[in-house]
Structure formats: structure tokens, C-alpha cells
């Protein structure tokens, strides 16, 4: 590790403050980054991480405070200025153009003028040397949409390196990666460190932070609340710093009483992503669906929910066979889906929370087609209390809510439907630690009420910590079932998920 007292820090942000109408997003925040260091930036959603990164990337100008690079005061008043200063930000969705090749994406926007000839051979040479520097080989002439997510990420990294970035910001870089790909990313990060690049790493996954980061710094409510080298802090202490209180247990699993079989799925298929999936779901249990990204878990529940048409297979509810060809039918049968991506699938983000809540429940809140907003509002407020949804009132626009509160609005929508089968697809993705805990408690409570819960999760600790039973999928098939999650390790699940064993434990 680099001795911070003797060298000028690569990056210093001093006393940064930024307000938006009605919100003090950042209040007197300091941040220091040394060359060759990985700094993890921690904080719950809304703590001010993205605002700080946007200031560093030149997308926002701070109200107060200064930025020093190599000890020199630097103005970052536009993204271009930030790029020139050596800052490269890799956003969660990578910002790549799907229809361009890896090479074209890397050099996009780097031509001196619009009619400048693109020198393919030179670009190819440069791109190859970039990938060599990163240590991973990517076919530079394949279209980005054809590349796996992990390789797209490498392209995004190459893109910022091609601009001579010395400060690289990674925003939730592992959100869409499989565990094996995460290992690959670790190697890349080590490589960049050894080249003297400073990395700011944003993630909700504490295990990764322990693995990758040299030092953490924590924001809470727009303020800097502490920072420590990674060896001197435990995971619980990190959580405590982030949420400002201690959590007893990351996974508050209550032992639930599994009841009768509620849902039975027989030989559900849609080739090639879903092949002959059969399972049953009991009242009062949480059934975990584990597997790698692309194993067909989301696709399976989409068939179950009637979003996509199944090729074959039967769905039985409470002992009778049901025919589901659209989400509307699934909902009528009491099956509800809480999608992984709430902003693009779960909620109409431009509409108010109450309208979103009512959207699925018009049969309760409308008579002869006329909406009774008063009843709708009363019912919604009921859930606001019950689920402790943090909203100013029902007219708040859905997209202004944090991930956890959005998830609760979706949940309220389905609870009003008297949903019996609740399918949670990645229920805590992008949700901060405090809200995660609340979601887990809610799942426990729902199970205790006799509802059947199916939970898809890519986070093994979550799957093992919250499920009563686990089904592991691999390449569209059931690879195995784990009946007692307390008895198995993450490695056992991974072996099933990667197809190295096919067994029932």
C-alpha cells in the first residue's frame, strides 16, 4: 500500500457541497484517493454517492468546494473537462452503443472532427494494446450487443483507459456479473492498480468490498461519516456506519411452517431457455431459485406469470389446473410478480405512487369505469403505514422513490390483490442495506400469513439465508433441489449452478 503521508494524493475533493431544490445532497464532503488504490464508496441509496460521482465526472458543478488532481486545483465543469483531467466514469449500464463494435465503442467521440477518417488499423492496434493492458482478450470486431455482459464491461473499462484515465470510477460493476466473472474483474482491478490507477468502487455487496478495496469511505445523508482501511473494520461495522444503527443479523430468517401445496408446475418449457421445469410451492414457505445469470430463472417465472407464452407444461393451483396466457390472468389467479427491475418493469415511473398502486387494482377502485380516488387513497395509505413506505403522499412520482420504497409500493399493489403466490425476482437488487432488512422481514411476515413465496436471487448469502428450500437451475433445467439450506455451503450451490454436479441434496 502506498504511504499517504509522503505523496501528493491523486485526487482530493475538499468540502464539497451541493443542493438541489428541497434537498441538501452533499454537505461538506471530503474524499481522497491515492494512486494505485481502490477506495470503496459506501452509503445507502440517497446518501449522496451518485451526486459526488457526478461532480467528479463533470455532470454536476458543486455549489461549494474544490477538486485537486495531483495537488493542482482543477475545474470540472463539463464531462469533457473531467475526461481531460483524467477521470473516467463507468456507469452501471456501461453507456455502450449496442449496434457498434467493441472497437468503435472505444473510440466513439474521439475523432478530431466529424468528417475525420477513422483509421481502422491504428484503432485496432490501440484497442488490442488496451486489452493487453487489462489482461483480458475481447474480440474487438464483434458488436457490443453480441458480447456477454462481463466483456461489455471490459470494453467500457478499455474506453476510459483509451482516454488516459488515471482515476476510474466503477458504479456497481458487478451488478450483472456471475460469480466467476466477478473473479475476472478482480484480476482486472489488480492489474489497473499495479499501473498506478486510482479506483473508486461503488457497490452494495460488502463481501466484494472486503475483497477488492484497500480503504472505505462512507456517506450518510450527504455527509461524510467515516473512512478506514479495509483491515480495520468488520462488515457489521460497515453496515452500522452506513445505516447509522446496528443490525442484529443480515438475514432475519424466521423458521416458517410449510403448509399445503399451493402451486404445482409440471414440465414447463420454452426452448431453449426453459426446459421441463417442475416444482411445487407450499403455503408459508420461501422457495429460493438459485442459479447463474442466464440460467432461465427469470424466464421460468415469466412463463408462470403469463408474460411469455409457454410451449408446453401445466400449472396447477390449489389442486386444479389453470390456464394462464397473460399477466392479467395470472393476477386473477392470485399470482403476482415483483420484477427485478422496478423502474422499467415494476412501476410506471412517471406516474404517482398511488396511481401505480391502483393500476393493478381497478376492479376494487372503479365503478362503471370511474375511478374512486378517495377509496384508492385510503387503501394506499393503509399500506403506507403497514409497510412503512416513505412517501410524502400518494401523489409523489414513483421514480423519485428509493429502490426499497419502490419495492414496497409494488408489494402494496399485489397485497391489495390478495395475492397468494408472490414471486420476488431479485427482491433486493439495488436496494440499500437498511431497506433490504425490511424487505426480508416483510417476506417472513407474508410467509407466516400463509402466502407462498418464490424468490429468485443471484446473491448466494441471500438465497441461503432466507430460503426454506432451494431449487438450483442450470442452463434452463433444474440442476438440483436443496431441502435444508442450513446444511449446505455457498460452494455446494455453486457446484449445482455451474453444472459440475447434478444431484439432490
Amino acid at each position: 500500500m502506498i504511504d499517504s503521508s509522503s505523496t501528493v494524493p491523486l485526487l482530493e475533493m475538499k468540502a464539497i457541497s451541493k443542493s438541489f431544490p428541497g434537498v441538501r445532497a452533499l454537505n461538506n464532503v471530503d474524499l481522497t484517493l491515492h494512486s494505485g488504490e481502490v477506495l470503496a464508496l459506501l452509503g445507502e441509496n440517497g446518501a449522496g454517492k451518485s451526486t459526488l460521482i457526478k461532480i467528479l465526472g463533470g455532470a454536476h458543478t458543486p455549489d461549494e468546494g474544490t477538486v485537486f488532481i495531483d495537488g493542482k486545483q482543477t475545474r470540472m465543469d463539463s464531462p469533457t473537462a473531467a475526461q481531460r483531467a483524467g477521470v473516467g466514469v463507468i456507469y452501471q449500464d456501461f453507456n455502450l452503443v449496442p449496434a457498434l463494435t467493441a472497437r468503435e465503442n472505444i473510440f466513439l467521440g474521439q475523432h478530431s472532427h466529424l468528417l475525420g477518417r477513422t483509421k481502422k488499423s491504428e484503432e485496432r492496434r490501440k484497442a488490442e494494446s488496451l486489452f493487453k493492458r487489462i489482461g483480458i482478450d475481447v474480440n474487438i470486431e464483434s458488436l457490443c450487443r453480441d458480447l456477454p455482459v462481463a466483456q461489455q464491461q471490459i470494453v467500457a473499462i478499455a474506453k476510459v483507459l483509451s482516454l488516459d484515465a488515471r482515476i476510474v470510477v466503477m458504479d456497481e460493476p458487478t451488478a450483472a456479473l456471475t460469480p466467476r466473472e466477478v473473479k475476472g474483474l478482480a484480476a482486472v482491478i489488480d492489474e489497473l492498480k499495479s499501473q498506478g490507477i486510482g479506483i473508486i468502487y461503488i457497490s452494495h455487496r460488502l463481501d466484494e468490498i472486503e475483497q477488492f478495496a484497500d480503504r472505505i469511505t462512507v456517506l450518510r445523508d450527504g455527509k461524510h461519516v467515516g473512512g478506514r482501511p479495509i483491515g480495520q473494520i468488520t462488515r457489521d461495522e460497515m453496515i452500522e456506519l452506513m445505516v447509522g444503527r446496528s443490525l442484529e443479523n443480515e438475514f432475519p430468517k424466521a423458521k416458517s411452517q410449510a403448509g399445503d401445496v399451493l402451486l404445482t408446475v409440471k414440465n414447463l418449457s420454452r426452448a431453449p431457455v426453459v426446459q421441463n421445469i417442475s416444482f411445487s410451492l407450499h403455503r408459508g414457505e420461501i422457495l429460493g431459485f438459485a442459479g447463474l445469470v442466464g440460467a432461465g430463472r427469470t424466464e421460468t417465472v415469466r412463463l408462470l406469470f403469463g408474460v411469455d407464452a409457454k410451449e408446453s407444461g401445466e400449472i396447477w393451483l390449489d389442486g386444479s389446473k389453470v390456464n394462464i396466457t397473460s399477466p392479467a390472468q395470472a393476477i386473477r389467479h392470485g399470482i403476482c410478480l415483483l420484477t427485478e427491475d422496478r423502474n422499467s418493469q415494476g412501476l410506471v415511473s412517471g406516474m404517482s405512487v398511488q396511481e401505480n398502486f391502483g393500476l393493478a387494482n381497478m376492479k376494487w377502485f372503479s365503478k362503471l369505469g370511474f375511478v374512486n380516488s378517495k377509496n384508492e387513497g385510503l387503501a394506499f395509505n393503509n399500506y403506507v403505514d403497514q409497510l412503512t413506505i416513505k412517501v410524502t403522499d400518494g401523489s409523489q412520482i414513483a421514480q423519485t422513490l428509493s429502490g426499497g420504497n419502490q419495492q414496497k409500493v409494488v408489494l402494496a399493489k399485489w397485497l391489495q390483490q390478495n395475492a397468494e403466490v408472490l414471486i420476488f425476482d431479485e427482491p433486493t437488487r439495488g436496494i440499500d442495506v437498511g431497506a433490504k432488512y425490511e424487505i426480508y422481514l416483510l417476506m417472513n411476515e407474508l410467509a407466516a400469513q400463509g402466502k407462498a413465496i418464490l424468490m429468485i436471487s443471484s446473491e448466494l448469502p441471500e438465497i441461503l439465508g432466507m430460503s426454506d428450500r432451494i431449487i438450483v437451475m442450470h442452463e434452463g433445467k433444474v440442476a438440483g433441489e436443496i431441502t435444508d439450506p442450513a446444511e449446505v455451503t455457498q460452494e455446494d450451490v455453486m457446484r449445482l449452478a455451474t453444472g459440475s454436479v447434478m444431484a439432490t441434496m
Partner: protein
């Protein structure tokens, strides 16, 4: 400036403000001496003549050969007769020379005339009505001795703000505004309908042709008339359903489907017209839909206002309205919430088609004929009205009331340019530029209110 743009007043009623400012601007630009020549002014003038000293007033009314002048002259004559004043003659002349000839004829027949009632236009531009010319006539013909011209008093005011002009603005723009209601539904679902102008012509043609061939021709009963109107609207509604099906079941972009329909419907209109410029409607009473009034307000305007209120209620108080916004805001999320997305889209295009059909029926009633060229380029004006009214072409956003304001903004701009005598080429340039400015203002407002 930023604070001003962010204030609640501006964000909620920005477009109303633009409309009011435009109205004020046009009022100012058209401010000047007003020369009333409507029936009301005629009645007023007659009362003035009645009060002339002496009980031996013999009046000749001299006006042009226009429809409005006929009404004006009749109003004068009726009022004069009611008050017991002799109306010697009503002269509707095509030219000042004709007027002179008629007056000379009166003189030759020795019909007593000592007052001439006219209006500002004839009074100030026709030489024969100048006092000196009249004195000359009186010298030759004793029966015209002492004849004097009278016209309604002029006063200061704005041509734009006159009741007549405001009513005519609303009336002229009612078809576009009605189609804009349907278009608002479509645009809020992130769709577009380019076929409305052509559907309007198709509807007018179906009305005219079906009346001629099926529903009784010149002897058509009112049932026949209603049947013709209804079948025209039904066909247009079905065209909308067809668009909806193409957009949903076959995933053809609405731009393409409605572009194709636009061409097909226009072509069909010309085919139905058999190559003629128009197909006349012989049935009596067909014009009543357009020319009739309810409490003195033209039918078209009443219909338009009722439809706006109805559409507003649908959009803000019904499940359908909620669904329309949801489909436009995020079709995926709407479907996963159990919203019947396909049905909503089909209904929306059907509404848009029906609105175009209604506009076509009104057009047929207006001209008592089906014109295959009716509604040309109307689709663009309709879309402009919706966009100026604040709806987003990306879907999920827009208000029925906004569309009404948008349509009125465009109408006022057009009317203002018209009254300033701007020729149509230049008017188009200004019109286009003003649409851009209106939408630009809206964008600036949105940008300043979006803060994160």
C-alpha cells in the same frame, strides 16, 4: 428567470398564459376604428333613423350583394317597418354604378326617398353615396329632394375581440380541435396517427355517397341523414381499430401503419368522388348539423366543448384514462400490472378514428358536399395542437385541457396573421416558427423544473 419559470403558476398554466399573451398581442395589433355592419348594428341604425325629426321619412337601404349584407339590410328594413317608417326600396348592388342606376330608377318612378341607410364600406367608398353626388341626383329628380346617407357610428375596438370573430375562430377550428382530442389519446400512449386528415375526407365522402346512393338522395329523411353520418363515423372507427390491431398484434410502428392508411384513405376518397372535386349532398337538412345553433352557439362549438369535457373526464377519472397514461409511460410495467395493453391501444386508435370521422361529417354538413381534398395536411395541424398543448411524443404525458389550449393557440396565431393581412406563404413561416417557440418554452420550463 429560472425562478419565474419554476413558479407553480407557470408550470401549471404556462400554456394558458401564452394563449392570453397571444390574445393580447393580436388585440393590440388589430386595435382600430370598428365599423359595425351586422344585423344588430342595422337595428340600431334603424332606431336612429326613426328618431329623425319629421314624420315623413322614406328610406332606401343600399348595400352590397353579399350574404351578410342581405341580413344587415333585412334587419334595417324589419325594424323600420315595425316602427312605422316607410321603406321605399332595398337596393343590393354589385357595383356603385348599379346602385346609381337603381337610385335613378327610383327618381324616375318618383318614389319618395329622403334617407339612405347603408354601412361604412359603401358610405366611404361608393361615390354615389357622397352627399354631393346625392345632391346632384336630388336636383334632377324631385322625389329625392333632401336625401341624406346614414350609417352606423364607428367606434374604437379590436376586430379580433369582436364576438363575431371569436365565434368564427372557434367554429373554424372545431374540426381540428375535435381530432386533436383523439390524437391526444394516441400520443399519450406514445403513438401517432397520421391518417386523421385523410379519414376526415373519407368520412365526408362516405356521408355524401351513401346519402346519394342508399339513404334516399334528395328525399332523404332525417333517419337517412343520421344513418349516413353514423356509417361514415363507423367506417373511420373501424379504420382506427385496424390501426390498433396492426400496432399491437403485428408490432408495426404506428407511424408506418397510419402513413399507409393516410394514403389509402385519401385514395379511396378520390375513388368515391369518381374524379370530381366534390360530391354534392342534395338531401335537405344535411346542412343543419353545421349551421344549427344551441342557445345561439353554433352546433360545432357546442359539440367540441362537450367532447373536450367528456374526454377530460375519461382521462382523469376513469380506469381507461389511467391505463392510457400507464401504457404510454411504461407499456411493459403496465402489462405486468395486469393492464390489457393491447385493448387499450386498440381503443385509443378507434377513438382517434371516430374523432376524424366526426370531423368529416361536420365538413360534409358545412359544404353540403363530400370533398376528397378535405382535411389535407390537417394531421400535422392536429399533431401540432397536441404538442403545443404539452403532450410528449414519448408518451405518458399530456392533458386534454392542454390540447384545447394548444388548438386555441394555433387558431389565434392563424387568425391574427390573417387579420394582419400576412400572405399565406409568409404566414406559414411565422406559424411554424411560433409552434417551435411555444414548444421550446415548454421544454425550458420542464428542464428547469427537473432538478436531479
Amino acid at each position: 428567470m429560472k425562478r419565474l419559470l419554476q413558479s407553480k403558476l407557470i408550470t401549471d398554466y404556462g400554456m394558458v398564459l401564452v394563449l392570453v399573451l397571444l390574445g393580447a398581442l393580436v388585440t393590440w395589433a388589430t386595435w382600430g376604428e370598428q365599423h359595425p355592419d351586422d344585423p344588430g348594428a342595422g337595428k340600431h341604425l334603424a332606431n336612429g333613423i326613426v328618431e329623425l325629426p319629421g314624420d315623413d321619412t322614406h328610406v332606401a337601404v343600399v348595400v352590397r350583394q353579399t350574404k351578410s349584407d342581405t341580413e344587415y339590410a333585412e334587419a334595417i328594413a324589419t325594424q323600420l317597418k315595425d316602427k312605422g317608417v316607410t321603406v321605399a326600396a332595398i337596393i343590393q348592388a354589385r357595383t356603385p354604378r348599379d346602385a346609381r342606376v337603381e337610385l335613378v330608377k327610383l327618381g324616375e318612378q318618383q318614389v319618395r326617398v329622403n334617407a339612405i341607410a347603408t354601412h361604412h364600406f359603401c358610405f366611404s367608398t361608393w361615390g354615389v353615396l357622397q352627399q354631393s353626388a346625392l345632391d346632384g341626383l336630388a336636383a334632377n329628380y324631385p322625389s329625392l329632394k333632401g336625401v341624406k346617407p346614414f350609417k352606423p357610428a364607428s367606434r374604437m375596438g379590436s376586430t379580433f375581440l369582436s364576438k363575431k370573430n371569436l365565434v368564427s375562430i372557434l367554429n373554424q377550428n372545431a374540426p381540428i380541435a375535435i381530432m386533436a382530442i383523439g390524437m391526444t389519446f394516441v400520443i399519450i400512449t406514445a403513438g401517432i396517427d397520421l391518417s386523421v386528415g385523410s379519414l376526415m375526407a373519407l368520412s365526408a365522402l362516405i356521408t355524401a355517397v351513401s346519402l346519394r346512393d342508399w339513404f334516399g338522395g334528395p328525399q332523404a329523411s332525417s333517419l337517412g341523414l343520421y344513418s349516413a353520418f353514423a356509417s361514415a363515423m363507423l367506417v373511420c372507427t373501424l379504420c382506427g381499430v385496424f390501426v390498433g390491431l396492426m400496432v399491437t398484434s403485428f408490432q408495426v410502428p404506428p407511424f408506418v401503419v397510419t402513413l399507409a392508411l393516410m394514403m389509402m384513405a385519401r385514395g379511396c376518397s378520390f375513388i368515391l368522388a369518381g374524379g370530381a372535386d366534390s360530391v354534392d349532398i342534395q338531401a335537405s337538412g344535411a346542412e343543419l348539423l353545421y349551421s344549427g345553433t344551441i342557445f345561439g352557439v353554433p352546433n360545432q362549438i357546442v359539440l367540441m366543448l362537450v367532447l373536450f369535457v367528456l374526454a377530460h373526464v375519461v382521462m382523469s377519472h376513469t380506469a381507461l384514462g389511467r391505463y392510457v397514461y400507464a401504457v404510454g409511460g411504461n407499456a411493459q410495467a403496465a402489462r405486468l400490472s395486469g393492464v390489457p395493453v393491447f385493448r387499450v391501444i386498440i381503443v385509443v386508435y378507434a377513438i382517434c378514428g371516430a374523432a376524424a370521422g366526426l370531423a368529416g361529417v361536420l365538413d360534409a354538413s358545412h359544404f353540403t358536399s363530400g370533398r376528397p381534398k378535405a382535411g389535407e395536411f390537417y394531421e400535422l395541424q392536429v399533431i401540432a395542437a397536441v404538442v403545443v398543448g404539452g403532450a410528449s411524443l414519448m408518451g405518458g404525458e399530456g392533458k386534454i385541457f392542454g390540447t384545447f389550449i394548444g388548438a386555441m393557440i394555433l387558431a389565434v396565431i392563424q387568425n391574427g396573421l390573417n387579420m394582419q393581412g400576412v400572405d399565406s406563404y409568409r404566414a406559414n413561416v411565422v406559424y411554424g416558427a411560433l409552434i417551435l417557440v411555444a414548444v421550446l418554452l415548454d421544454q425550458l420550463r420542464n428542464r428547469s423544473s427537473r432538478w436531479a
